[in-house]
């Protein structure tokens, strides 16, 4: 068995139909447990007070905003190299999900930044690269809508995705590149001194799992919709020719 079997729309539809209910159930379970635990049953931080509860939304959303773009990059490269339509449609399906995560990260970051830094926004390297990533998501979605031929749209958006990856990487590593700005380093680290305390860490990891599962569920569902939409277009074209 090869992974490329799933590039066949029929095989993808069969497998995703089986996987979707499980992914949805796991998403609801992880998000409910993680968010309820984080919101109701964790203490305030000694420095940040109750605002530490924003970590359960901000960190997973920011992680997934970057990872969604990486997934779109991989899918776009598969389309560009191997011309598998399902991968191009999966990249298209993931973009609105990634944009939503980016918006959540920006909004919760501003709401967290105001009481902690005394400002809603700063032209900090990480914040700025995140804003540019958000604009790339919008441009990517707009480009898909603007080009009528789906293969040409997939080619052009694939190139845009490669260019935008620079900002996805910058969003992740800007804090390390430029040792300046307001944003602190990573909340999760292998280094025990850098890592957040266990009392916050466990619900945070469950929330991250929940956001990953939410992404998988929505991308599977939206890719199925895109495959159906492409079949509608093909059948309508055949009707017009008949």
């Amino acid at each position: 068995m090869s992974i490329w079997e799933y590039a066949n729309p029929k095989k993808f539809m069969q497998t995703s139909a089986w996987a979707l209910p499980w992914a949805l159930a796991a998403t609801v379970l992880c998000l409910s447990v993680g968010l309820i635990w984080g919101f109701f049953f964790t203490p305030d931080d000694y420095k940040q007070g109750a605002t530490v509860k924003i970590i359960y939304l901000h960190v997973p959303a920011a992680m997934m905003a970057i990872n969604a773009w990486v997934m779109m990059l991989v899918a776009s490269l598969i389309w560009i190299v191997r011309r598998h339509h399902v991968s191009a449609l999966a990249a298209k399906a993931a973009a609105p999900v990634g944009l939503t995560f980016t918006l959540i990260a920006l909004v919760t970051g501003a709401l967290w930044g105001q009481p902690m830094w005394g400002t809603w926004w700063a032209w900090d390297p990480r914040l700025t690269s995140f804003l540019i990533l958000c604009l790339f998501y919008m441009g990517y979605i707009a480009l898909w809508s603007a080009v009528e031929d789906p293969d040409t749209a997939a080619d052009l958006t694939g190139v845009l995705c490669i260019v935008g990856s620079v900002f996805a990487v910058l969003s992740r590593y800007a804090v390390n590149f430029w040792n300046q700005g307001l944003h602190q380093g990573a909340s999760l680290s292998m280094d025990a001194k850098e890592n957040v305390s266990d009392v916050f860490w466990i619900p945070l990891v469950i929330c991250i799992a929940g956001f990953i599962l939410l992404f998988v569920t929505l991308v599977l569902m939206r890719t199925r919709t895109e495959i159906r939409a492409r079949r509608v277009a093909a059948l309508l074209a055949r009707e017009r020719l008949a």
């Binding site: 109701f40 509860k53 919709t225 055949r238 009707e239």
Partner: protein
């Protein structure tokens, strides 16, 4: 049951509220698109099947 958020109540509640609204909108939009496309596909496939039947007959 509600934790005491003190002076940070606005920041915390607005963060949770904005996240729920954004994810809720994305999920609702995804389900609406899914239902619309599925309905159109069923109609077009039924027409295609009827056309094939007519041609065969």
């Amino acid at each position: 049951m509600m934790p005491d958020l003190g002076k940070y109540a606005f920041a915390v509640l607005a963060s949770y509220g904005a996240t729920i609204v954004l994810i809720g909108a994305l999920v609702a939009l995804s389900f609406r698109q899914r239902a619309r496309v599925k309905k159109t596909l069923d109609e077009v496939e039924a027409r295609a099947a009827a056309q094939t039947g007519k041609n065969d007959g």
